[in-house]
Amino acid sequence: MNSISAAASAGTGSGSGTGTETGTGTGLSGERFPVRERFPVWKDKFSLVSSMIQRQDLAFVQVPMQTTVAFITHLRDLEGYAHLVFFTAIDYIEDGIFRLTYMLHNYRRHHDLGVQVDIPREDAGMESIHHLWPHGATYQRELKEMYGIDFPGSPGVDESFVLEGWHDIPPMRREFDTKEYSEKTYYPRPGRVTYDPTEYMKEKLYPSEAETW
């Protein structure tokens, strides 16, 4: 468990983790599907790192990189989580990791489960899931393009998806500065004035509230 998760479980800090222990997030009002009972089984079989119940229909679990695809296959084939809702990444640049999130849905239980795994940012790569869901290849193609995370063997993973002729660093990485890029790429046009949004709103839109600050 890294510093992010530890900070999150304590309810403080700047990162967002899934917590080191099972807890309840906002909005939990009675558990419809007792997913909590599955945690010990998953921990035993797939070395679950942490778990968190966010709502009665939503939980997050974190697993090590080595058991992730086996765990997802198990969930799909044996636990009813047959629907891959989405697959994305969160960049924790300060900890040197990407947190991959596979959101799975169980239609029988009407329950969402977010399976999360931390992978190093350097030479980022992960085992592919395109053999489980064909559209997994599309998500992986996008992750390669936007974050530079490789999925060896995934069909068309090296082809551009949204960006064409992009030669800069993958743009969804935190170090990619959109403001700097736009200033560099799109020259300033005459007559354009840039305001600091906070100051502008304070002065123009909320003058009465600003007096109370």
């Binding site: 900070a7 999150a8 309810g11 403080t12 800090g13 700047s14 990162g15 967002s16 899934t18 997030g25 906002t26 909005g27 966010q54 709502r55 229909d57 939503l58 997050f60 047959a82 629907h83 891959l84 809702v85 989405f86 994305t88 969160i90 960049d91 999130t101 959101m103 239609y107 009407h110 969402d112 977010g114 869901w133 064909p134 559209h135 290849a137 599309t138 063997g153 069909p155 068309g156 993973v157 090296d158 082809e159 551009s160 998806f161 949204v162 960006l163 064409e164 743009p171 969804m172 935190r174 990619f176 959109t178 403001k179 949004p197 906070t198 709103m201 304070k202 909320y206 509230e209 600050w213």
Partner: protein, 395 residues
């Protein structure tokens, strides 16, 4: 090189090289032709394109290309305060922006532990159903137009415009409403609004009856739509298919019923399904859901509370720090499951917001599979029958 006849059995993937993803059809053989349908094409749903390889009139390979409308919403939101993200999110989907507004607000409210007044829940549901109605009306026109019945498109776009009038009266905006905001909604219903909504619904109902006769019982429409782009029940989970595309294959799934949100648990409605899984079945589902949406709006106008607050005051939104946490909120939009995955690191800026649009799977992987062996003249009809919007693919 792959022969068309040998490839007649459909596989999970188009006949591309497993490693490079490149086509295995040799264009230099003279047997095949490559045609781009889009991004400038009346038969394409928005700013995207299909790269079609045809052998005669038959499509033997399809590749979806997106990126013509990439504005980097998710990246932009990472350097904006929550309230600054709010005017961005509605722009992710033009015909149906309200779902983005609602889901962004619902996610932020859940993370921040903010409860929304009951009246606001009703108003939110009302606007979501009005958006559904407007979106379906636009879609009906698109589907009819793709099969050469452009007149029906003129009827439905006119009716959609009347719904946009209602949105304009409610929010000041015709396309982007920015009505659902974190904490509730922006304003109360104007005086006499319910009556004007009812007048519009009566007009739309009349046109829907005409459309039913002119389109659903039209021999040409039936001939072209029946058997086109068949989605089998087994494909639904395999390809992550949701919404009317799944319900057209007899799959009883609807988030409004399965995971009720807002006030849907207080409304009387059933999940609409059809058998067949083809473009015709999907059209029937959407036609029936359009009528259902009218019924839901009427129910809400009867049941919604007249008194009470419609907004809960938030902390100073310029310094609003949302507590550390993560959540996924979802809703049933016209095209299927729409969702926002939101991660907060306890600062004033969201750490990550991921937008899950149903078109992501429907327009790319599913379309690439369904288009194979379709006549090129029916590609537009197939594309529209999946009801996709590109902005939610490239966010």
């Amino acid at each position: 090189m792959v022969d068309v006849k040998q490839n007649s059995q459909r596989s999970k993937f188009p006949p591309v090289d497993a490693v490079t993803g490149k086509s295995r059809y040799n264009l230099l053989s003279g047997k095949y032709l490559k045609i781009w349908q889009g991004p400038q094409h009346p038969g394409i749903t928005g700013n995207m394109s299909l790269e079609l390889t045809v052998c005669g009139d038959e499509v033997i390979e399809c590749k979806t290309h997106v990126g013509y409308l990439h504005r980097g919403f998710e990246k932009l939101m990472e350097r904006r305060k929550y309230i600054q993200c709010f005017p961005l999110v509605c722009r992710i989907c033009v015909p149906e922006p309200d779902f983005n507004e609602y889901l962004f607000a619902a996610g932020a409210e859940e993370l921040a532990g903010i409860e929304v007044p009951e009246k606001a829940l009703w108003y939110r549901t009302l606007t979501l159903e009005m958006a559904r109605l407007a979106s379906f009306l636009m879609w009906i026109g698109g589907q009819a137009g793709a099969f050469g019945m452009a007149t029906i498109g003129q009827w439905t776009v006119t009716m959609r415009d009347y719904v946009l009038d209602l949105f304009e009266e409610l929010s000041g905006g015709r396309i982007y409403h920015m009505y659902i905001i974190p904490g509730g909604v922006r304003s109360d219903l104007p005086a006499g609004y319910a009556r004007r909504v009812e007048d519009t619904l009566v007009m739309i109902e009349k046109v829907l009856k005409d459309i039913d006769l002119a389109m659903m019982h039209n021999a040409v429409f039936k001939k072209r739509a029946v058997g086109l782009g068949v989605i089998t029940p087994g494909m639904v989970d395999e390809y992550g298919i949701t919404g009317p595309n799944a319900r057209g294959s007899g799959i009883r799934r609807d988030i409004r019923k399965d995971l009720p949100y807002l006030v849907y648990d207080q409304l009387d409605f059933d999940i609409i399904t059809e058998e067949g899984g083809d473009a015709y079945a999907r059209t029937r589902v959407r036609m029936r859901e359009t009528a259902q949406s009218i019924d839901l709006i009427r129910q809400m106008l009867r049941k919604m509370p007249a008194e009470g607050p419609f907004f809960r005051k938030l902390p100073n939104v310029l310094h609003w720090k949302v507590p550390t946490g993560q959540t996924y909120v979802q809703a049933e939009c016209t095209r299927g499951e729409y969702g926002f995955f939101m991660v907060s690191d306890g600062t004033e800026l969201p750490r990550r917001i991921y937008v899950r649009g149903p078109s992501y799977t429907h327009a790319v992987t599913l379309m690439e599979r369904l288009a194979v062996h379709v006549n090129i003249a029916d590609t537009a009809g197939l594309m529209v029958s999946l009801h996709t919007y590109p902005p939610e693919i490239e966010r």
